[in-house]
């Protein structure tokens, strides 16, 4: 085993670093010009093959061969230089991969560039009130009217919903077809008078999700991805991408480091909390899990780099992350003591004290809900990972 990246990649790292030194100098740019500067920087970085690597040149990408080690080097160096990576969000993570796999040439040309530039921001239109994990129970209807779909219904839990300009959606188009067969995958513009959107305030007090209402909203048939009635299958491609993008050993490592910092800075019985045997034991106990997660990420990464299929631990990373986040939250809650009675000021605000951990405490709960609930993940581990028999009650 070898955790170094090898000579070739270290030399590549030098190139990236050299490029960044020249191309990324935000301190030299006035605030109003920053947006254009970043766009220009991204274009240059794409030209070098550092960004949009999976996207064909004809649609504005750099069309690089798959190389997870080089990709990792790029991520590390961009992070080091605090340089912007690709435009994020649902558009790049879900719509573009779907378009590349299932879209027509026209669709690819129409949508990919504008998504990459951040001009189109995509909301996800899967969940509906009452659907929960049963995403196939779509009730939002789309009816064909000439060359247009006319959409009526409601979608919920759309992340970045207030900023979204467009939506990718599952709509029921065939009333009489079986549950999974009656769904079509549609793109639509949210700039339509029949669209109403409403932020969903969360338990944290913030609003990161939206609810959408559609009243006779139209979208061209040409914006339909894949065949009519085949939307469930089209969407499955997408969901896989989302699942792969959630876990992150670095994020967890940072969280754990913050917890240790909290333990050092918190006074308890006249000494730093980290001197308390209960705290020390709890911290190392958690660290065992954090490191198991981290080295399992290395393992997955190593498989991907070698082009090998992922080991079963890949199915467990999200749940593992959720459970470790839960432990970190409870340990922090113990440590912050009375400060848990204070409402934390919003992230980014100055003077946030130990009570900011309440964000993490609530966030660790949100994790268990977002991207498939923990019970669904346990089903997947049991059935796909261990080969236990499928529960027929959970649908096809």
């Amino acid at each position: 085993m070898d955790l170094s990246y090898g000579e070739e990649n270290e030399s590549y790292r030098k190139d990236v670093r050299e490029f960044l030194k020249v191309a990324w100098n935000p301190a030299s740019v006035e605030k109003p010009a920053m947006k254009a500067y970043i766009a220009g920087f991204r274009e240059k970085a794409t030209g070098k093959g550092y960004l949009y690597r999976a996207i064909p040149r004809e649609f504005g990408g750099s069309q690089q061969p798959v190389d997870v080690l080089k990709a990792q080097v790029i991520r590390e160096e961009f992070a080091r230089a605090r340089a912007p990576m690709e435009v994020g969000g649902n558009g790049m993570n879900m719509v573009v991969p779907t378009l590349l796999e299932r879209g027509t040439q026209e669709q690819k040309e129409q949508f990919i560039r504008k998504t990459m530039s951040g001009e189109y921001i995509w909301g996800q239109g899967y969940s509906e009130p009452g659907s929960g994990s049963d995403l196939a129970s779509v009730r939002t209807k789309a009816v064909l009217d000439g060359d247009k779909w006319v959409i009526n219904g409601q979608k919920i839990w759309t992340s970045q919903g207030m900023d979204a300009t467009h939506m990718f959606m599952l709509a029921r188009t065939e009333a009489d077809a079986p549950k999974h067969a009656g769904i079509t995958y549609l793109l639509l513009s949210l700039d339509h008078p029949g669209v109403t959107r409403q932020p969903i305030k969360q338990i944290t007090g913030g609003a990161t999700f939206c609810e959408f209402f559609f009243e006779d909203v139209t979208t061209p048939v040409a914006w339909q991805i894949g065949d009519r009635g085949d939307g469930w299958n089209v969407s499955k491609t997408t969901l896989k991408h989302e699942r792969a993008s959630i876990g992150s050993a670095d994020m967890l490592g940072h969280q754990f480091a913050q917890l240790v910092k909290l333990a050092k800075e918190t006074q308890r019985n006249g000494q730093p909390a980290i001197k308390d045997p209960l705290v020390r034991d709890a911290l190392v106990r958690i660290e065992g899990w954090v490191l198991a997660h981290r080295y399992s990420s290395y393992r997955l990464f190593s498989h991907a780099a070698a082009g090998d299929p992922p080991p079963s631990v890949g199915l467990m990373m999200k749940l593992l992350l959720t459970e470790i986040g839960h432990d970190i939250a409870l340990t922090a809650e113990d440590m912050i003591g009375d400060e848990a009675m204070l409402e934390p000021a919003p992230p980014g605000t100055r003077g946030r004290g130990p009570e900011k951990w309440l964000d993490q405490i609530m966030g660790s709960l949100g994790n268990s809900i977002a991207g498939g609930t923990t019970n669904i993940q346990r089903n997947i581990i049991g059935e796909r990972g261990l080969g236990l028999p499928r529960d027929p009650a959970m649908g096809a």
């Binding site: 929960g132 969903i200 809650e333 309440l358």
Partner: protein, 352 residues
């Protein structure tokens, strides 16, 4: 031998429950948490009209002369209904005065506390435990700063913890400065209160006993909150359908909810016993209070999290009522000192 509630006790709980349902329904709770008011006066007054302020006070001052058990049963329903207003402070302050030997203070305050004409709140300070209190007294004047005082702007009187573990009564007024804090539990707003050489009445009551009362009432409040979160979860699991069946039929969720019940229902008798031991003056009363408080603090937080998880997305929204009890659970765990603190106290009390 009897270790279950009397019909009368059940009826009182039902009356409080009904009063809270009428005077503090979901819409009003949401108005409260979205607004600026420190607590909801109407529901508070309705509870006071039921006599909750005077439950443990002597009849001669307008009280009902009942025990801590009855007060705990009320606090439990209060927790269930997310009572706003300092119910624990009102009861504990009244008892502190009643158990002191100052007849003037009794006449001055007890009738008003019993009817709710005066609002009382706790200002214990530092690390909650009497031995950590640090407001200083010089003669009849007290000075110092106390964080996490509930309903401080609307309180008429503060039960203040003094250095040395004594209690004093301080009336709101020009020598008392109130600096509101943001509260994580928006049904229980709080402030830092600064006493600037404020005139005080020193009380002779045993502060350890009064602290135990607060611990037990807080445990009862947590029990009620946990029960509410469980009830909401059970109701949701019966109603909500997925994959064509109520989600409560799925074994995994069913068992998670069963585990929640296993945390709540057995804990009920633990709270009863702690109150009973206090009322009877049993040897293990203080330990029972510490253990009950620590246990219920942990249970409520655990249930709060489990309830949100069982609900999925809807449970994570601000508008759904559960968020109110989730936030109460986190707040409750810290209030009066965290569970680890009280467990260590219990260990010391056993001479371990």
């Amino acid at each position: 031998m009897r270790f279950h509630l009397s019909e009368e006790q059940g009826a009182i709980q039902d009356a409080i429950r009904g009063t809270l349902a009428d005077s503090l329904p979901s819409e009003k709770l949401h108005k409260l948490i979205d607004g600026e008011a420190e607590f909801d006066r109407e529901s508070w007054d309705a509870l006071m009209a039921l006599g909750l302020g005077g439950l443990m006070l002597p009849e001669q001052y307008g009280g009902s002369d009942l025990g801590l058990l009855d007060a705990a049963l009320s606090a439990e329903v209060g927790g269930e209904g997310a009572v706003s207003g300092p119910l624990i402070g009102q009861i504990a302050t009244g008892l502190a005065i009643a158990e002191s030997d100052d007849d003037d203070a009794k006449s001055a305050w007890l009738p008003k506390l019993a009817t709710g004409d005066a609002v009382a709140t706790l200002a214990f300070g530092r690390d909650w435990l009497p031995e950590s209190w640090d407001v200083s007294a010089v003669g009849n004047r007290v000075s110092g700063s106390v964080r996490f005082v509930q309903a401080a702007t609307m309180a008429d009187v503060y039960l203040v913890g003094l250095a040395g573990g004594k209690l004093a009564l301080v009336e709101a007024g020009e020598h008392v400065e109130v600096q509101p804090l943001e509260s994580f539990d928006r049904t229980r707003r709080q402030s830092t209160v600064i006493f600037n050489s404020a005139p005080a009445t020193l009380l002779s009551a045993d502060s350890g006993r009064i602290f135990d009362v607060a611990l037990i009432l807080a445990a009862a409040d947590a029990l009620g909150g946990a029960q509410k979160a469980l009830d909401m979860t059970v109701a949701y699991a019966k109603e909500r359908e997925q994959f064509g069946q109520p989600i409560g039929q799925f074994q995994a969720l069913k068992h998670q909810i069963a585990q929640m019940a296993l945390e709540v229902e057995p804990a009920r008798a633990l709270v009863w016993y702690a109150a009973y031991a206090f009322d009877k003056g049993l040897d293990d009363a203080r330990r029972a209070a510490a253990i009950a408080n620590a246990h219920l603090s942990d249970r409520f937080v655990s249930i709060g999290r489990a309830a949100v998880a069982a609900h999925g997305g809807i449970g994570y929204t601000w508008e759904y009522d559960l968020s109110i009890w989730f936030r109460r659970s986190i707040y409750s765990r810290a209030y009066l000192g965290g569970p680890a603190v009280h467990r260590e106290r219990a260990a010391q009390l056993a001479n371990w």
